[in-house]
C-alpha cells in the first residue's frame, strides 16, 4: 500500500488542511521575528487592553501581548503534539507488532493491557501523572504518549496478524530470517501506511488533550504559553476581557480541524475508498 498523492491533492478539504497547517507551523516557527513583543514580558500599565493596532489581540492580565503569546504557544503546542504522536506510534507499533507476530500468551498480555488502558479516560490518567510529577516539556510528551499508544497498538496488531500469513513472510522465513528481522524488516514496514494515517490523526488528538490538560491547570508551568494554558488564564477575566478567551480556542480548532482534514485525505489516498470509514 502506498499513498496515492494524486488522490490526496485532488481532495480540496485535505489540501486546505495542509495549507492551513503549513501556515500555522510557519507562524509558530517564525514567531520571534513576526511579533514585535516578547511573549513573557509583563507591562503592568498595559494590562487587559482590548484589541488595538499596537496589540491586535489585546493584552492579558499581566500586560503581555496576546498575539505574541498565541504564536509562541503554537511552537510549544505543535511541537508537543508531534512528539506525543511519535512516542505513541513508537510504543504502539512495537507492542502491537509483537502481539500480532508472537500471538499466544504475549498477545493475550498485551491485548489485556490495551483493553485496560482504553477503559480509563486518557485525560484522567494524564491529569494524575502531571499533578504528581514536576512537569517539563519532555515529561509531558512522555506522559501523553504513554496514555495514547493503545489505539496504535490495536491497529498494528491487526495489520501484522493479516500480514504474517502472506507468502513474502514465508519466503523470508525460509531464507533463515529470525523473529526480530522478520518483524522489523518485513512485517512492520508493510504496516507503515495505515500507521501514518493514524499518526496524523493522533497529532490532532494530542493538540486537543494537551490543551484540555492545560485548560484544567495541569499543563506546563507558567510563564510558558500554550493554547490551553491561555484559555485557563482567560477564565478569571471573562467579564473584563472576553477576547482573551476567543482567539486561543479559535486557533486550537483551526489546527485540529486542519490536521483531521489532512488525516482523512491521507486515509482516502491509501485505502482507495472514497466514502467514509
Amino acid at each position: 500500500m502506498t499513498i496515492r498523492w494524486r488522490i490526496f491533492f485532488g481532495n480540496p478539504l485535505a489540501v486546505a488542511g495542509l495549507v492551513v497547517l503549513v501556515l500555522l507551523a510557519l507562524a509558530a516557527l517564525f514567531a520571534p521575528w513576526l511579533t514585535p513583543h516578547s511573549p513573557t514580558a509583563t507591562r503592568p500599565l498595559d494590562m487587559l487592553q482590548p484589541p488595538s493596532p499596537a496589540h491586535p489581540l489585546g493584552t492579558d492580565d499581566l500586560g503581555r501581548d496576546a498575539l505574541s503569546r498565541l504564536l509562541h504557544a503554537g511552537r510549544t503546542s505543535l511541537t508537543l503534539a508531534i512528539g506525543v504522536a511519535a512516542v505513541a506510534v513508537g510504543i504502539g507499533a512495537l507492542l502491537g507488532g509483537v502481539a500480532g507476530y508472537l500471538g499466544g500468551r504475549a498477545d493475550g498480555t498485551i491485548s489485556a493491557l490495551v483493553d485496560t488502558m482504553l477503559s480509563i479516560p486518557a485525560l484522567a490518567l494524564a491529569m494524575v501523572a502531571s499533578a504528581f510529577l514536576e512537569l517539563t516539556t519532555l515529561r509531558l510528551v512522555l506522559i501523553l504518549g504513554l496514555v495514547s499508544w493503545p489505539t496504535v497498538a490495536r491497529l498494528v496488531r491487526a495489520q501484522v496478524l493479516s500480514l504474517k500469513e502472506r507468502d513474502f513472510v514465508e519466503a523470508a522465513r525460509a531464507t533463515g530470517a529470525g523473529h526480530v528481522r522478520l518483524l522489523l524488516r518485513h512485517l512492520l514496514p508493510n504496516a507503515v501506511t495505515p500507521v501514518i494515517v493514524a499518526g496524523t490523526l493522533l497529532v490532532a488528538y494530542a493538540v486537543l488533550i494537551e490543551s484540555a490538560l492545560s485548560f484544567l491547570g495541569f499543563g506546563l508551568p507558567p510563564p510558558t504559553a500554550t493554547w490551553g494554558g491561555m484559555l485557563n488564564e482567560a477564565q478569571l477575566y471573562y467579564l473584563e476581557a472576553p477576547w482573551l478567551a476567543v482567539f486561543p480556542g479559535l486557533v486550537i480548532t483551526l489546527a485540529v480541524a486542519a490536521i483531521n482534514f489532512m488525516g482523512d485525505g491521507l486515509r482516502e489516498a491509501t485505502s482507495g475508498r472514497t466514502g467514509e470509514a
Binding site: I120, P121, A124, L125, V128, F132, Q235, G249, E276
Partner: protein, 317 residues
C-alpha cells in the same frame, strides 16, 4: 443470553483488577506521596513524619500496601477525604449522580441530532450536501468543548443573561426537576455537540451502505417509498454497529464530561478529580479514578449485552 451475559461479566473482572494496579502505582510511585505532604510542613519533626509513615503503613513493601488498599476498597473503606473530613466513598458517590445526568444528557443530544442529521444526509442525493455534512462533522469534532462551552457561557449567560452561569440549581430555591434540566441544558448541548457531528457521519454512512442491500431493493420493488425504505429497512441495521461505536466512545465521553463540568461549574466527579488533585486529596483521587474506570467498564458491558440482544448471532458466537 444468560450464559453470554455471565461470560462478559467474568471478562470484566480481570480488567478492573489490572486497572486498580495501574492506578495504585500511578498515584503511589511518584515522590510527593501522602506522608511527604506532612514532611513539607516545616513544623513537622522527622519523628512525626516517620510516625505517620508507620501509622499509615507507608513503610511496608508496595505489594502489601496495594493488597491492603484494594481489600479496604472492596469493603467500602475508601479512607477519609483529607479536605472534607468525611469518608471518601461518600464524597465520590455524592458526585457520581451529577456526572451521570450530564453524560446522559449529552448522549441524548448527540443521538437525537445525530440521527436527524444522518437521516437528512442519507436522504439528500446532492454531492454538495454530503460534502458539506462531512466537512461540518470534521470541524464539529475539532472544537474543544472547553472553548465552545466558554463561548456559550460568555454569550448566553454573561452577555444575554438567558441561561444560568453554572451549577446544578438556582441558589436559594428548593430542588426541582425543571430547574435541574434548565441548568443541564447548556452543558449537555455543548458536550453532546461533539458527538452530533461524529455520529451523524456514522449514521449517514451506515444508512447509505444499508440502502444498497438486496432486501432494500426487494422492498423498493414492492413499491415502498424512499422514506419508508430509510426508516423501516435501513435504519434498524445501523443500530447494531452504532452501539459498538457508542461503547468505544465512552472513555472520551467521560473525559469530555470532566472538562465540561469544570467550565459549567457542574459538581460532578470530573470537577471533584480536578479539585482533589490540586489539593492532594489522595483517598478521593484514588476513589474517583476507580469510579471513572468502572463507569467505562460498565458502559462497555451494557454495550456488549445490547449487542447480544440486538444481534442474535453474537450470543452463540
Amino acid at each position: 443470553m444468560l450464559i453470554y451475559a455471565a461470560r462478559r461479566l467474568a471478562g470484566a473482572i480481570p480488567r478492573v483488577l489490572l486497572i486498580s494496579v495501574i492506578l495504585f502505582l500511578l498515584v503511589n510511585l511518584p515522590p510527593g506521596g501522602p506522608a511527604d505532604i506532612y514532611a513539607a510542613d516545616p513544623s513537622a519533626s522527622p519523628q512525626a513524619v516517620e510516625r505517620i509513615r508507620e501509622l499509615w503503613g507507608l513503610n511496608d513493601p508496595l505489594h502489601v500496601q496495594y493488597l491492603r488498599w484494594f481489600g479496604n476498597m472492596l469493603q467500602g473503606d475508601w479512607g477519609m477525604s483529607y479536605r472534607e473530613r468525611r469518608p471518601a466513598l461518600d464524597v465520590v458517590m455524592g458526585r457520581l449522580g451529577n456526572t451521570l445526568w450530564l453524560t446522559g444528557g449529552a448522549l441524548i443530544v448527540g443521538l437525537a441530532f445525530g440521527f436527524a442529521l444522518g437521516l437528512a444526509g442519507a436522504w439528500t442525493r446532492s454531492h454538495l450536501g454530503r460534502a458539506l455534512a462531512q466537512a461540518t462533522a470534521v470541524v464539529g469534532m475539532s472544537v474543544p468543548t472547553f472553548w465552545s462551552g466558554t463561548l456559550v457561557l460568555l454569550f448566553f449567560s454573561v452577555h444575554l443573561r438567558w441561561i444560568p452561569a453554572g451549577g446544578m440549581g438556582s441558589i436559594g430555591e428548593p430542588f426541582s426537576l425543571t430547574d435541574l434540566l434548565w441548568h443541564l441544558l447548556a452543558p449537555a448541548l455543548v458536550l453532546g455537540s461533539v458527538y452530533v457531528s461524529q455520529w451523524s457521519r456514522y449514521i449517514q454512512a451506515g444508512l447509505t451502505g444499508a440502502m444498497q442491500n438486496d432486501y432494500v431493493r426487494t422492498a423498493r420493488a414492492k413499491g415502498r417509498t424512499r422514506g419508508e425504505l430509510l426508516m423501516r429497512h435501513a435504519l434498524p441495521n445501523v443500530a447494531i454497529p452504532l452501539v459498538t461505536v457508542l461503547g468505544l466512545e465512552m472513555p472520551r465521553l467521560v473525559a469530555g464530561a470532566m472538562v465540561t463540568e469544570v467550565v459549567f461549574s457542574w459538581p460532578g466527579i470530573g470537577r471533584l478529580l480536578t479539585d482533589a488533585l490540586l489539593g492532594r486529596d489522595y483517598p478521593v483521587v484514588m476513589g474517583t479514578l476507580l469510579v471513572l474506570a468502572v463507569l467505562v467498564i460498565v458502559a462497555n458491558l451494557v454495550t456488549d449485552l445490547l449487542y447480544g440482544l440486538l444481534d442474535p448471532r453474537v450470543r452463540y458466537g
